[in-house]
Symmetry: D2
Subunit: 322 residues, 4 copies
Amino acid sequence: MSSKAIAVLTSGGDAPGMNAAVRAVVRTGLSHGVRVMGIQRGFNGLLSGEVVEMNLRSVSDIIHRGGTILYTARSPEFNTPAGVQQAASTCRSLGIDGVVVIGGDGSFRGARDLTESGIRCIGIPGTIDNDIASSEYTIGFDTAMNTAVQMVDRLRDTMESHDRCSVVQVMGRRCGDIALQTGIAVGATSILVPEVPYDFQKDIIERMRFTQKTGKKHFIIIVAEGVGGVEKLAQDIQEATGIESRATILGHVQRGGSPTLRDRVVGSEMGSVAATLLYKGKGNRVIVMQGGKIVDLDISEALNMKRVFDKNLYEIAHRISI
Amino acid sequence: MSSKAIAVLTSGGDAPGMNAAVRAVVRTGLSHGVRVMGIQRGFNGLLSGEVVEMNLRSVSDIIHRGGTILYTARSPEFNTPAGVQQAASTCRSLGIDGVVVIGGDGSFRGARDLTESGIRCIGIPGTIDNDIASSEYTIGFDTAMNTAVQMVDRLRDTMESHDRCSVVQVMGRRCGDIALQTGIAVGATSILVPEVPYDFQKDIIERMRFTQKTGKKHFIIIVAEGVGGVEKLAQDIQEATGIESRATILGHVQRGGSPTLRDRVVGSEMGSVAATLLYKGKGNRVIVMQGGKIVDLDISEALNMKRVFDKNLYEIAHRISI
Amino acid sequence: MSSKAIAVLTSGGDAPGMNAAVRAVVRTGLSHGVRVMGIQRGFNGLLSGEVVEMNLRSVSDIIHRGGTILYTARSPEFNTPAGVQQAASTCRSLGIDGVVVIGGDGSFRGARDLTESGIRCIGIPGTIDNDIASSEYTIGFDTAMNTAVQMVDRLRDTMESHDRCSVVQVMGRRCGDIALQTGIAVGATSILVPEVPYDFQKDIIERMRFTQKTGKKHFIIIVAEGVGGVEKLAQDIQEATGIESRATILGHVQRGGSPTLRDRVVGSEMGSVAATLLYKGKGNRVIVMQGGKIVDLDISEALNMKRVFDKNLYEIAHRISI
Amino acid sequence: MSSKAIAVLTSGGDAPGMNAAVRAVVRTGLSHGVRVMGIQRGFNGLLSGEVVEMNLRSVSDIIHRGGTILYTARSPEFNTPAGVQQAASTCRSLGIDGVVVIGGDGSFRGARDLTESGIRCIGIPGTIDNDIASSEYTIGFDTAMNTAVQMVDRLRDTMESHDRCSVVQVMGRRCGDIALQTGIAVGATSILVPEVPYDFQKDIIERMRFTQKTGKKHFIIIVAEGVGGVEKLAQDIQEATGIESRATILGHVQRGGSPTLRDRVVGSEMGSVAATLLYKGKGNRVIVMQGGKIVDLDISEALNMKRVFDKNLYEIAHRISI
């Protein structure tokens, strides 16, 4: 069974690389001889009718752009049985029998619900936080971290000139992956993540004092959003050590920017695989990275997985950032 | 009268391009056959004796680095008659009869005081804020603004994807130049600077509504640090317009980073001119940009000048960012 | 006398910041209540009829993009009396009585010819080479140089790791400004420009040997396109010094990229001033930077000026890059 | 059996991220209570005696720097039985009983030879080309590709403004991975790699004509160094299509620059694992990425593996870059 028309939407927070995925869905769909529609502003577009026909040129010159050309939004109305029914009905009236949903776990639950209403959906993990248990990698993660690293590299210059300590909050509410990898990449003396409780004296102050004795005079502490409290932490560090300390919240800047190569390539590959699955009549799947490869899983199975924090990498960070 | 030894220090907040100026002072001094000393941590180094001899290679591979290899600090002890006397005495004991002081107005006052104690000083404007009345340009200004622009360009991606308004605080306590030029460069709907009072309805809300009618759905408001209040402003905008609004404080990230070409070139030129002036026996001067050229002025004269805000450019911004 | 409609075109090589100028022309024109047309592919658009009406949103989200949304081209057909007559006739039929021409000297000659045929023109200097005698600054110059600097900073890493010499060709056929300022900014041991003849032994080899004795092991030589011959030069250097030497031609990469703040701001200011001049009934002018300020000159007068190479800055480069 | 002293060297072409690996080796070694030596200029340092003791601060502030602080070189003298004997003898006299060798296949053969002479070696894949059969990833690959992507994104601006075709040569002599992933990331119409023969008409001209019919006017062709011939190719394309075509060789710029997050993190992890293996008395191993994980293999086994080109990704590129 092959598709008459497929569609693609981006949902939840935007992430760099979503455009690469949208482009790959559109062009792969068209290469299979299938019509492709773009749904705007997430699932909302299926309620408001913001759906446009896409052709090869609709996705020209977007692979290098941040954000999403389809826009994105949260969609409380869709998250009701009536909303899902209406969305499915819109799809049927437009001849759409399959939808690629690019977003996070919440979006995948929407994809599952819509599949159950008869419209086959395929999820693609698009979120800068890397907080999807079923996939080793989510689109946007690499760009967000490289942005954070570039910003902290700038902070380092001024911290070093003034012999200061910089306490930097990076994104990641439930997931410390951005903090962990950014922390390693910038040589942070301490990295605080939601997955691992920390002891102020042992994990921060003692490490700073130890490296201070070896001659280091400026310090970077990376804190995940889910740990938070960077203003207070900077004050506490200054009081405990006498080293002038400043807090910085990197904020939404981490969401934007031209995607890195990795987000463009992974986005392209996932988008293409998703469109081909829809074309082949598959549904209720998510595209994920496992063992470094792009594979697909059942959505419900994927949603039930538990994230595993990379303790090994965390210990390496502890060992070398000193 | 020629110098036996000259010295160079960086003072106040660090600024990208200070290293270019330090390098140019050192190498120009050496090219004149003069010894050159590096004073560390601003005027403090003259109190603590943190002074090192510089050679051609001491300043290798630094022109592209942010911050200052001489470190910088505020120096309350120096700002007393006794402090100045001690600093002058240190200079004499080290054979230093001229000092290049890279920093802001406060540092220039120190340079004047030290000159009056018998050590000829030449000031170079090094501060990201462009807040020195006597000079059209201060070292670090271009890098700081380009950093701000790159960060707001990233915010734009995510604001556009979500149809949001972004209220962004950039540096500039007394001086709105960073805000003005950054605002023009990112196409900000409104630019708030300390030099011009603003009317919330007329200067923000009405402009947003006007452009909204022409089809625009995402907005950037740039606010100088000296105006502040971005969190409140974002809330007020959201209430008044219904457009989801987010505040971002760019912070110290603007201070660091590899200097732009302009800061490297202007820093090099100012540093070289300053060292040559010292070599020729001049003192109590500041190097400034006037009419696009590098010239020198009497320090006291320079300190008495009044800054003039570029109203003309401000009006152009108002006209085209709509 | 005020305009019914004005138009804007970009001509010759593209330059980052042209979009800022186009945007400023369009919005300033509209703010004066004048219709504004966009002419595509330079003067060609007036022959082929590629002219589109512009509104406030036609120039949204372009200030940060490289290239030119109006496209550009050389136009041999226009450079004939018949071509100019046809272009003027197209303007009259579309109600266009003034045109802003963004480009280099060749484009300004076209602007003068078109003015003589009754269509008032205003030139804006847009070319990365900074090769327009009448203006201290041309739009695109700052971005091109910062791109070159970033690329040479990358080369520096690998040259340093291998103790090599890198001979790098940057843009600038008749004008050595890109080479001079880029050379200063990257700390080039020698800078070769078309304006100053060089002696291989004295200006390259002796300088390399001198710095080698002070401990330097890697070298950068910057060569303007108008001097050329970098492959041969790299071989000659390697033979003369025994230091492994590599040639790199940076090429068209220097033309593109998101414009720097300076090119966005200068482009905005020049574009706005040009549109206001047209609105006020002026013509046959070019907008230039003189003494750091934006002013306007008679086109023919501007075209007759002679470029002056900054010998002073060249000597500073010689003194400090050692 | 534990080590008395271990050492680290970088060999072959430099790659961004080598410093992260060096830093991780040094600090992990020290954390195990082992002395760590830095060998300069590859295996040469073992012949010339350029070996320095490293401490925690020897590797401060290097994780964000391109190149390698240990310098690198080819070493024909080492590649003889006498050379290997002398190197082993140097190690013994310095108390070094294990060496981490960061480089490519050639360096791994050196590591194997040195192991056979009694000095346990561990290899780490450091080369921008990703041309090591045993590892899915080599340090420097991500940075080199992101640099290439940023440069081609700049070219795109100017190609688009002029309706041109850009033929770009990227690094990769035997391995098309840089070309393949860069080509996907920039939306190249054709990607030429050494692993897949190409047909000029079918793989380039017909694809250009097809997309031209859909409205596309500017084109990017990515060519691996191992395919080469970009000047000729640009001419042929221009003749066949009438579209103005330009060749660009990106060159050594791709080698340098501040490493991306990925190269910093993978470098850190591989370096740390290698030092711990040496500490535990292991030798003759290489650290590789397999299935997305960092594992170790026997060197000889690794050297005998055959590279497999990712045909699947190549076909996706073909499908979506149109």
